[in-house]
């Protein structure tokens, strides 16, 4: 049984305010004016090759890119079988942007054009599905809807998943996108005893609600060495 102290955040990323922030450091600043063009500039910046990206709605694009950057350079499947990795995400606006787009397509009987490629994105968990497909992740996956990111619940629920061996690794955080607003925060939680020992590298941040909240707010926090 893993106790609370046994879990660490081993990597975290944020995509907000035109910035890509990895482990607290701004790595990329985009001047792109709109959410769509910004997401495309991040896609190009990280040399991602996935033509399907361009079919996604902005919410899935944001989730997809965040996971892509989080897992960059990590061979996660070499470390954990896909079924031991969880994806637990929070979001406030659900898929409202795609919902409005679909509603607009059916508003007028004389100009009626519902499209399966829009409709499929009218569910918030599609972003979790896109991440799962890309990284072959097959474990627990749930999208919760909150008014704002809830570090306490995130901590409690993910701790429960680890404690009962439902996951051995978890991608979690907050992916929200509606209109001009976008914000993502993703972190990788792992058990301390499963972290690769590498003396030169910092290993992680203690997984507790205070650390999660600080990371989400972009406040600095010390890594365990």
């Amino acid at each position: 049984m893993a106790s609370r102290m046994d879990l660490l955040i081993t990597r975290y990323i944020q995509l907000k305010n035109h910035q890509v922030i990895i482990n607290g450091s701004v790595e990329y600043l985009s001047e792109e004016p709109s959410v769509s063009t910004l997401l495309h500039s991040v896609y190009r910046r990280y040399n991602i090759d996935c033509p399907k990206f361009f079919k996604m709605d902005n919410l899935s694009k944001l989730g997809f890119l965040s996971a892509e950057i989080l897992l960059q350079g990590i061979d996660i499947l070499q470390k954990y079988p896909g079924e031991e990795i969880g994806i637990i995400l929070g979001n406030a606006s659900s898929s409202l942007e795609s919902d409005e787009k679909h509603q607009e397509s059916i508003r007028d009987r004389n100009n009626y054009f519902p499209s399966p490629s829009v409709f499929v994105y009218t569910l918030p968990n599609i972003m979790a599905g896109e991440i799962a497909i890309r990284h072959k992740i097959k474990g627990e996956n749930t999208v919760f809807i909150f008014e704002r990111f809830d570090p306490g619940f995130t901590f409690r629920y993910i701790s429960e998943l680890f404690r009962n061996q439902r996951v051995n690794c978890c991608i979690s955080g907050w992916i929200d996108c509606y209109g001009d607003h976008y914000e993502s925060f993703l972190f990788l939680a792992e058990r301390e005893d499963r972290i690769d020992r590498c003396p030169e590298l910092q290993e992680g941040i203690i997984f507790d609600p205070w650390s999660i909240e600080k990371l989400f707010k972009g406040e600095s926090i010390s890594w365990m060495i």
Partner: protein, 391 residues
Amino acid sequence: MANVFVGASNIITSLAFSTAGHVEQIKAKQIGISIYPGGNLYPTPVPLSLVDNRQLQDLFRQYLGETQPGLQPSSFTRLEMLHILSISDVLKSSGVNIKDPRTLIILSTTKGNIDLLEKDRYPVIEPDRIYLWKLAEFLQHFFGNPNKPLVVSNACISGVLAILIGSRLIQAGLYDHVMATGGDLVTEFVVSGFQSFQSLSPGPCKPFDAARDGLSLGEGCGTIVLSRDHSLCALLEKIIVAGGSCSNDAHHIAGPSRTGEGLYLAIRRALKEAALGPLDIDYISAHGTATDYNDEMEAKALSRAALEPVPVNSFKGYFGHTLGAAGIIESALAIDSMRNNELFRSAGFENPGISKNINVLTDHLAKEVNHCLKTASGFGGCNAAIVFKKI
């Protein structure tokens, strides 16, 4: 670990406004799916299972008059009326104190108040109740519950997940009681979307049947109480949540895995957690949407889990696919089957149309049921399985 008991439930669909009403209708083999003409609402005629609007309005007006006479029915959306009637029925029959700080509301829905996007649909309702968290908060405040509700929106496995997550939170000692309530409406929004996918059947759906040709949409609401306190189930046979799991196919966002591997994985883990083998399972309440791919995928997963001989049904032939409510509505019926040791015919099924020899119920069957498996699968490649156990 502490037992999590499954208590009273309520179901509202085209068939009835209570769980007992549903059982009565299903026993009588009543189907709630009818063909609605095209024209104003839909481009072509479409079979749907709809909650009777006049009855809903009457019951809600009566309920509001008895409990909160200062409020007007016009300040509630249709989905809110369904949830309020459903939750209040379960509160009455279970005796759960909704104002208790140890009681949590979990809402499962895919589209919530999606009809708020329709122009002029609700002139006096705040448009921000389109947000699912706001809808949940509205229900929380209506009932005076002190805890921020949890909202699960994970496509068609949302309802099963709400029960599973509720039982996990009780087991972790965070709450004593959970009201898991799931609801979704049939609106032009979902009908047009599923039509664009060409996944709607021209007649009432036929899960697992050789002639199945798509799903039928249904609207509804289901509420089920979970509790660590078995005295809440005093008059009912004691049933617990013995295990459960969810998984992802990692295959396609809009189509199920061809192999059933994801669902198989969820079933395997649920059985393991319940410490049961396939031979222990007496009955399976499957997802059974009646689309070609889904039912075939489920048959493969059940076969792979060595569950072929176990009697299985889908309730969707009775009242369609109720989306985010489905997992709760169908679990409530499965639990009733356990309590009464009576399994129900899988409506719409006549001739097997799947590649595996699973045991789809062609008629009602009296059978002792000690362990029941409930499964669900949905868009985004998600699957869920939960095991209910009589103790």
